[in-house]
């Protein structure tokens, strides 16, 4: 018996062919809708500030004999900042197919380097943003048009609780009743508990009969989306699920630069409390938003996961040429 070789790809030739075909259809989808394909840098001095996203860095050395010395650039966790700068500069409908990088993310559905499709359309709001994502899902996957389900309705349906109001004690109760393994370090952050219940109880049921778009997230999980005042106030954020797998994340985009400055501050404080490095709060995105980002919606989609679902594959490595452990 020969030892398995590391130089070969983990995806079969058939899957690679289907992958290429899917990419053609995706480009066709955007071209027929008047979107311009753009190509923005992977390296930037700016990076998204997210509590749970850890960007990788690259040092642009000036002396090749000291490769660790020089300014730090961030490998982009998504092309969001650069694409919004293009929108603020007058482009109306843009999409991009690019590699994105996220430190520490590796598993059945994660690879630290992956392919992302991201698009923006000026004039879109929550509803039309979800509508465009629904069109794309219906066109590229054989599972029909997504149903729309609010975050609140999903929690009500699976767990009979109101995610916007439930306290930690009641969520802990539910987790215990359902025999969920609870991490020792979970603490008393409501969002950590919501995420645990989402991952353990809600997500597995999403998108089973047909794709599901989950929307109206808790206001403190807004990231870069607009908040719609309530009660309860909700983040105009949406995610597409197919067969329990999260495929895309979209926002009715936040336009207010000062609100973003405030969120950046809060997020950095949380990162510090988590023992993580803070990330630069100044960015050219803020300058672009100060200059005026037109109202729009945008969505990022994990292309590798799309290929996985389209080819009935079991894991990301079956659709990647060389996943990280043989990259």
């Amino acid at each position: 018996m020969s030892t398995p070789s590391d130089f070969r790809p983990t995806a079969t030739r058939e899957v690679l062919q289907q992958r290429a075909h899917l990419l053609q259809r995706l480009r066709q989808f955007f071209t027929t809708r008047g979107f311009l394909e753009v190509d923005t840098p992977l390296l930037s001095t700016d990076t998204v500030i997210d509590r749970h996203l850890d960007p990788l860095t690259v040092t642009l050395f000036s002396d090749p004999r000291q490769m660790q010395t020089g300014p730090t650039y961030w490998l982009q966790t998504s092309p969001e900042f650069a694409m919004k700068r293009l929108l603020a500069s007058g482009l109306q409908r843009i999409y991009q197919v690019t590699h994105a990088f996220r430190g520490g993310e590796a598993g059945r559905y994660h690879n630290p380097e992956f392919t992302m499709v991201e698009w923006y359309r000026i004039g879109d709001d929550l509803e039309s943003g979800m509508g465009l994502l629904g069109d794309l899902c219906e066109e590229l996957l054989p599972y029909g048009r997504p149903e729309l389900l609010s975050y609140e309705a999903a929690f009500e349906r699976e767990l009979a609780i109101d995610p916007h109001r439930a306290d930690v004690a009641s969520m802990s109760n539910i987790a215990q009743k359902r025999n969920i393994a609870i991490p020792d370090s979970i603490g008393s952050d409501r969002n950590d508990w919501l995420n645990l219940l989402l991952a353990e109880c809600v997500e597995p049921s999403l998108g089973q009969d047909r794709p599901t778009i989950l929307f109206d997230y808790p206001a403190d999980q807004a990231a870069l989306s607009q908040i719609r005042q309530g009660p309860p106030a909700v983040a105009e954020r949406f995610e597409l699920y197919v067969r329990g797998i999260e495929l895309a994340n979209g926002y009715h985009e936040l336009l207010d630069a000062d609100e973003l400055r405030r969120r950046n501050r809060v997020t950095n404080e949380q990162r510090q409390a988590d023992g993580k490095a803070t990330l630069p709060e100044k960015s050219r995105l803020l300058e672009a938003m100060d200059a005026g980002l037109p109202a729009c919606a945008g969505t990022a989609l994990g292309f590798d996961r799309l290929v996985m679902l389209a080819t009935n594959s079991e894991s990301l490595e079956q659709v990647l040429t060389f996943p990280i452990d043989r990259a």
């Binding site: 749970h52 996203l53 520490g104 393994a181 995420n195 991952a199």
Partner: protein, 189 residues
Amino acid sequence: MGSYGTSDFRKGLKVQIDGDPYIMIECNFVKPGKGNAFYKCKLRNLLRNTVLDRTYKGGETLEQADVVEIAAQFLYRQGETFVFMDNESYEQYELSAEQVDDGWKYLKETMVCSMVLFNNNPITMTPPNHVVLRVEYCEPGAKGNTATNVTKPCRVETGAEIQCPAFINMEELIKVDTRTGEYVERVKE
């Protein structure tokens, strides 16, 4: 011993929880939306063989277990005690009958087994996947019956009873798969 952070978590990792050694037999990374990362793990207790379901949040750590695997030669059995020797250090280790479990069925003197040490104490022993054993006693072989699906019990040199095909005779050698306890083939001397 140091510790492993969640980003080190993977199948096969040996860790210590509440004083017991565990091997990670499954680790699934889940990360809902923009939420925190969870590592859903299954861990098998190396002393008791029980399986533990644990979920860890990104940033948690697990203590490393001082677990090493060595090649050990079986020397002899003394009552309920099985004595082995580390092939490299010549150090001797004793395992109880309970720790050896079904392994006694295949143990012949000088056989090299794989042994797991936890804090330098032996905890388990695994014989080679295939061993050749002499048949000490069985009913006479049925001449001409070469079918392997007709079986009969035989007693091998270790004292264990193995199911073998009807054509096997006393004093013949048979190869046995120690993982299933099943007869594989007849071996010529």
